[in-house]
């Protein structure tokens, strides 16, 4: 326990896992989103402890900020009520757990087995400065950046398009 | 150069005929007719120039055209004509004219697209008959396929989609086997000589070990046997013929079979003589079984087109027998049969189509006693049925006689059993006449007899069959010219 970052890492990791578990099991959507924010923030801490402050910041700003806000907006627009949480509860019957739990456990087992089998004594924690990241982004990864921008543009247009149809569809229904 | 024109005129005619149907269907028909007729005239010019009495009996390609196409892969646009291909080109164009004329009243929907497809098929057939480059050959082979698919699936009867898909699957799959075999040959040739080429003359001498030669040969044989069609790969033909229109049946059964037989004689026999020799007993047995099998099945059919289709398979069994008999008499008989079969079976399809147009059905039990009301058509039907049963004095007899007498030299039992096939042909031919035309007119049909254009076309076909039967020497003479390219075959 000589490392000052080790304790925060494990603590944040534990928080992240617990919050995530809670997030996927809530019957009320807003609760789930709140736990998701907790999980994301905890992951941000984990990033920080692993020596990636930039990413930690982005995690907070974009994930916990922008994306979750989108979710919240949608939840607000849908006006979900007590009835919905009741159906959610029904959907989360114990039988529905078996398959996902088994599959996830198997996957996790394989991942852990992989990691443990090769005894890597290496540690992590080297800090990458924003400058390094920027150089990498606009150096070797320039094409990737361009593609990402195209993807985002496409997503923008697509979301607009789908949203427009939805409006007209609703109008037709009315 | 004239060979190129032959193909170009057909494709151009098709491309022009297609849009013109929007203005008036008649324009489209006229364009198609003039394109095919022009081609036929060109072919006749060739007949007098290269195969007339004045021409020498020497070897070599009588007409040749060689353009570089894709030099990186050794692909040429190489056409060539000798006696064998000339005869079949003439048959193709002649029956092409017949098909266009017969479609004049039979096809009423999508006239432009119909003629486009028809002319494209004819162009593909000419390509197959004239190619001296195996890639071009394969290209033309596949070119026939898609328009034929449309001819069946657009202008067919009730179960046309099923028939068209069946046709497509059979021919396409077997064509792919041929492509694989072709590439194998191509690389084998490269391995042996270091040259990449699809040139027929170059590939002729490719050294192959027997095992490999057998597999490559089987690949080619698959495509040819399906297209012919040979027993037991024949089942697509009755289904297709039962659905397609009479003119497409003419193309399907008469001309496609001609290309398959041609391809066997031109490519299969000279390219893989040993492998062919090894497999020929099997093929002879299949041919003989096919002859009897199809004759008996033709006997039981109630659909007129199916009946004729099985009759066609029976005749093509003789073709197969002649090709694999390994005897030049039989081989000449094969070409003779291909031509006579094209005319007689094609004409039977036209007769069946003409009957169908009148009684609105292809089922034999709706007919009967038609002689009372349409004597001319019935008489013509009788004539072609007689041609199909191999009556001496008509073209089919000469071909089948030569095949059998040639087969007898090597395989006595096969010739004897196949001769029974000629007897069996009597069963279905007479049944056809009896149930369609004779008997009592129980349905009280009153129908118009042959129209002028029908009468003319069928009359010409009758004349051709009589000519082939009584004086086939010009055909055999022309064929003799083909001998120089594969002297071992024709000796």
């Amino acid at each position: 326990m000589t490392n000052p970052m080790e304790i925060p890492f494990f603590a944040a990791g534990a928080v992240a896992v617990i919050a995530t578990l809670l997030a996927i099991t809530r019957t009320i959507a807003v609760h789930a989103l709140l736990y998701l924010i907790v999980s994301l923030l905890a992951v941000a801490v984990v990033f920080y402890t692993m020596g990636a402050p930039v990413v930690a910041a982005l995690e907070v700003i974009i994930y916990a900020g922008a994306i979750v806000v989108l979710f919240v907006f949608v939840v607000m627009m849908m006006n979900l009520g007590a009835q919905d949480s009741e159906t959610e509860r029904k959907w989360l019957a114990w039988r529905a757990w078996i398959g996902p739990a088994v599959l996830s456990a198997l996957l996790l087992f394989e991942v852990i087995y992989l990691v443990v089998r090769a005894p890597v004594s290496a540690t992590i924690g080297s800090i990458s400065t924003p400058k390094e990241i920027g150089l990498a982004l606009y150096g070797p990864y320039l094409l990737g950046v361009e593609l990402a921008s195209m993807l985002l543009l496409g997503a923008l247009v697509g979301a607009c398009h789908v949203g427009r149809i939805s409006r007209s569809g609703r109008e037709v229904q009315q | 150069m004239i060979l190129g024109w032959l193909i170009v005129i057909l494709i151009a005619g098709g491309l022009i005929a297609w849009p013109l149907a929007r203005l008036h269907p008649l324009l489209s028909r006229l364009i198609a007719l003039s394109a095919v007729t022009l081609d036929l005239a060109l072919a006749l010019v060739l007949a007098t120039r290269d195969f007339g009495p004045g021409s020498t009996a020497g070897g070599g390609w009588r007409e040749e055209l060689d353009w570089s196409w894709i030099p990186q892969f050794g692909i040429h646009f190489h056409l060539g004509m000798d006696g064998l291909s000339f005869l079949l080109v003439l048959l193709t164009l002649f029956l092409g004219v017949v098909a266009v004329v017969v479609s004049w009243t039979e096809i009423a929907t999508a006239v432009g697209f119909y003629h486009f497809n028809l002319l494209l098929i004819l162009a593909g057939i000419l390509g197959v008959l004239l190619s001296l480059d195996l890639f071009l050959f394969y290209f033309s082979w596949e070119l026939m396929l898609v328009p034929m698919y449309f001819l069946i699936s657009v202008w067919g009867r009730e179960r046309r989609t099923h028939a068209a898909v069946k046709f497509f699957l059979f021919t396409q799959l077997s064509g792919l086997l041929m492509l694989i075999a072709l590439l194998a040959l191509y690389f084998a040739h490269h391995q042996a000589t270091g040259i990449y080429t699809f040139e027929y003359q170059d590939l002729l001498g490719t050294p192959l070990d027997p095992h490999r030669a057998m597999w490559i040969m089987l690949g080619f044989l698959a495509a040819f046997a399906v297209k012919l069609p040979a027993f037991p790969f024949h089942t697509w033909l009755p289904d297709a013929c039962a659905e397609a229109s009479a003119a497409s049946n003419l193309v399907l059964a008469s001309l496609m079979a001609a290309t398959a037989a041609y391809a066997m004689i031109r490519f299969l026999l000279p390219l893989f003589p040993e492998a062919v020799h090894t497999i020929s007993p099997l093929m002879i047995v299949l041919a003989v079984i096919g002859i009897l099998y199809s004759a008996i099945l033709a006997f039981s059919q109630t659909n007129l087109m199916r009946l004729v289709a099985y009759a066609s398979i029976g005749h093509l069994g003789f073709v197969l027998l002649g090709i694999f008999a390994g005897n030049s008499l039989a081989l000449r008989g094969t070409v003779m049969t291909v031509i006579a079969h094209g005319v007689s079976i094609g004409a039977l399809f036209l007769v069946a189509g003409a009957v169908e147009k009148r009684v609105q059905s292809r089922e034999i039990d709706t007919m009967g006693g038609l002689w009372d009301t349409i004597p001319c058509l019935s008489g013509v039907g009788l004539f072609f049925a007689l041609a199909a049963l191999g009556l001496p004095g008509l073209g089919d007899f000469i071909g089948e006689f030569l095949i059998l007498i040639g087969t007898y030299q090597a395989h006595i039992a096969a010739a004897a059993v196949a001769a029974l096939g000629v007897l069996a042909a009597t069963f279905y031919a007479l049944r056809f006449v009896q149930y369609a035309f004779q008997g009592t007119n129980i349905h009280s049909w009153h129908l118009p007899d042959l129209a002028a254009h029908e009468g003319f076309v069928l009359g010409v076909l009758i004349a051709v069959l009589l000519w082939l039967g009584l004086y086939p020497q010009p055909v055999l003479q022309t064929l003799a010219q083909a001998a120089s390219h594969a002297p071992a075959l024709w000796r």
Binding site: I24, T49, V55, L70, A122, I133, A155, A159 | -
Partner: protein
């Protein structure tokens, strides 16, 4: 200066991914399926960052940025579709969507 065992970072990523997967399979609510997918992406991100940090390279973090972009795009389009769907069917039940049945 810091020394967290490499294995622990990877295992954390794995756990997050597995939990996200469980969420995707478990939930019938389309919204929560999307949430679970975000969690899975996060798990992948943790793995990348851990690996990048192990070698002292920026590449891991660059990858996380791309994941971020993909997640943003996915969420925007996904939510738009979800809204459309909700307006049509008045439900978010994923099992109700089976128009692609063969």
């Amino acid at each position: 200066m810091t020394a967290i065992p490499m294995a622990d970072g990877l295992i954390l990523g794995g756990i997050l991914f597995a939990v996200g997967l469980a969420g995707v399979l478990l939930r019938r609510n389309l919204l929560l399926i999307l949430v679970s997918i975000e969690i899975m992406l996060n798990g992948a991100g943790v793995t990348f960052v851990a690996a990048g940090s192990r070698w002292g390279q920026a590449d891991g973090q660059v990858m996380f940025l791309f994941i971020l972009a993909a997640a943003a795009a996915e969420v925007s389009v996904g939510l738009a579709l979800l809204l459309t769907y909700y307006h049509r069917r008045q439900t978010l039940d994923a099992d109700y969507v089976n128009e692609m049945r063969g």
